[in-house]
Amino acid sequence: MFRKNMVWLLVVMLVLALASVAYGWSLEEAAKQYAGVTIRFITETTPPSYWVEEALPEFEKVTGIKVIVERQAHPHLEEKALMDFASKTGIYDVFNMDYSWTGKYVKAGYIEPFEQYMNNPKLVDPNNGLKDFYPLMWQGTMWDGKAYGYPFDSVIQYLFWNKTIFDKYGVAGPPKTPDEWMSSMEKLNHPPDLYGTGMMAKRHLSVVCEWLCVLWAFKGQLYDDKYSVMLNDENGIKATEFYKKMTKFAPPGVTTWTWDDVSTALQQGTIAQSVQWDENYGSMENPEESKIVGQMRYAPVPSFGDPVSHYGGSSLCVPTSSKNKEAAFLFIQWATSQDIQKRGVGKGSSPTRVSVYEVQEFRDKFPSFSATDTAAATTGWRPRIPEWDDMVEILALEINSVVAGAKDVKAALDDSAPKIDALLKKGGYK
């Protein structure tokens, strides 16, 4: 009896102790020993980065930690970060990492495993529900079963289609299959005022991302589970022929376009539809820069199989060279919190938490929210292995050459396949 009472007493004490920790945690208290510290946050020029920078004075006031934000375009973000990480200068304390870079940075030892911070009760906000992050986005920050950051930016690529334009020309939308998609492009193509589709076909990461969506729509893939290259099989050839044909109904300059040019054309209403990243939903609805407020709708990329979308999000991480790791973790926890994400929605920010997408008010105001919610469950990945950069270089050149009319589809894919195979062999995957 005595032993049983003692066990109960211990359990109650443990519960009370945990509850007191939970009840007693505050950002102000947790940050006390880091007050006066300055951390530097390197990030991409994306809506969540702008929003977090806007909300920063609140964090600085509560914590006494000063945060310097450095925004860079996607490629320059990596240039700056890698220079710092490789030379171990410790300039940056928080890094906005594209999920496709995870393998590369983990293997190079440039980013910290997050467990040590996530298990530290002094730093962790007990109310910060990690299960609230979309599983897919949470997975994006994992490598070998370990987390390396908190999901920050939801970037999913799917079809942006202008309902007003579709209705005006009597075209039913959204297209569901590639055949319907091509047919809608043809019907909506009225150059030079309106084109059937936009494309991000520059020799750049953008052309690879968009082409991957089309490849998946034709049930193709870069390589299979055993790392056998598949991109030049029948599906790959059909997909790339389709992608090339899209240029007939796209503005003449699309071989020089990236996602930025697609956004501008969608906002101006000069293209009826395009594959685009969901984080641009805010700019479509901003009357100061968009002529098509309230007209845009969102859907998976038309496919012959399951719905296709392409995940391209990012996480906030702590570089191993940082000299202020705990302060950086506190900032990351705050920047990815439900409160900050909810308040950022009106600013065009793209959240990574399920609970934010469930707010009915947001779903009513932004049609992209329900589309992202659906896409997040089915979206595809591009490779996260360190060899991906080299693959992008190969594919960007070859696919862009096809679109620009400099190379035949089969020749381009047949030239790419052995190079990608060689990279996979060199990487030790096969």
Binding site: L82, M83, Y110, R203, P251, V254, A404
Partner: protein, 310 residues
């Protein structure tokens, strides 16, 4: 002790030990140290990188370190390198030739012009004083496929169809870049050649006038030979610059579409900052350096021979 039996270092030591030379040496030393720090050391460091497997995206322990000439061997086997070298040579030959003939023609027209010459010269200088990356960004808008002014004009005068755009096609992208370079750098040739023309001695021209020589004969037999040193200097400078062209390519096309505008500098940039291969990028930089050195030495030799004959 006879100087014949001394080594070069010993002779150098004796030369320095004399008090007059010590003073000269102490005056030279700060400049030499500065030069070593900002030029010699980075060059040696870069060459060291060119012989290594250094890649920013891989941790230090995964690198093989010194790999000898492997980077150079890989580059020479890479078809993209040869394609970019070919594009660079074609770009350099075309733009420098057009800039030279255009520059010389305009300089001859402007020579001796008094009315409004200051205004004309200021206007001519404007493209040259702009940063190349700014020029690139301005022309990005001018060439834009939808609302670009140049694209609009080309379509209006039926040189380009509505289905095309200057930077979007393999056949038009490189000429479009060349046009920008010519627009920006012809003023440099005009100004240097004009300065050269205005500094020429008047006596040969007076003699030619007395002999009633035709203007073409005067140009061919007097102006051109006398102007030769200036022409060679300006060509050396422009060729060196054109071979290294980067800013406008980066801003306008990033080497695309396909490999149409992929010049050597862009190839280096891509190796260093898209693929993080600092070792390989350094090796390509040295190849570019050797090319520029060979071309410069040939032209400088020509120049010195010309000076001897003039």
């Amino acid at each position: 002790m006879s100087g014949r039996h001394l080594s070069l270092f010993q002779r150098f030591g004796f030369w320095i030990s004399s008090s007059e030379n010590k003073f000269k040496w102490s005056l030279l030393l700060p400049t030499l140290i500065l030069l070593a720090l900002i030029t010699v050391y980075p060059t040696i460091y870069a060459f060291n990188l060119a012989l290594s497997d250094y890649n920013l995206a891989r941790s230090a322990d995964s690198l093989q370190g010194y790999i000898g000439l492997q980077n150079f061997r890989e580059i020479l086997k890479d078809p993209s390198f040869w394609s970019s070298l070919k594009t660079t040579i074609f770009f350099t030959v075309v733009v420098v030739s057009i800039e030279f003939f255009l520059g010389l023609a305009i300089a001859l027209i402007l020579q001796g012009t008094v009315t409004g010459s200051k205004i004309v010269r200021t206007i001519i200088l404007l493209p040259m004083i702009m940063a190349p990356i700014v020029v690139g960004l301005i022309w990005t808008y001018l060439y834009q496929s939808e609302f670009g002014l140049v694209t609009f004009i080309l379509r209006k005068i039926h040189i380009m169809s509505y289905e095309s755009a200057p930077l979007a096609r393999v056949g038009t992208a490189l000429p479009s870049l060349m046009f920008v370079d010519i627009w920006q750098w012809t003023p440099f040739l005009i100004m240097v050649l004009l300065a050269g023309l205005e500094a020429l001695p008047t006596a040969p021209y007076e003699a030619a006038r007395i002999d009633k020589a035709s203007p073409f004969l005067v140009f061919r037999k007097i102006t051109l030979p006398l102007l030769k040193p200036v022409i060679l200097i300006v060509l050396v400078l422009r060729i060196m610059d054109a071979i290294r062209v980067f800013d406008i390519v980066y801003a306008l096309t990033e080497g695309g579409p396909g490999e149409a505008t992929d010049v050597l500098s862009m190839f280096i940039y891509r190796s260093a900052f898209y693929l993080w291969g600092i070792g390989k990028a350094s090796a390509i930089s040295f190849i570019l350096l050797y090319i520029i050195m060979i071309v410069s030495v040939i032209l400088v030799n020509l120049l010195s021979r010309t000076k001897e004959t003039v």
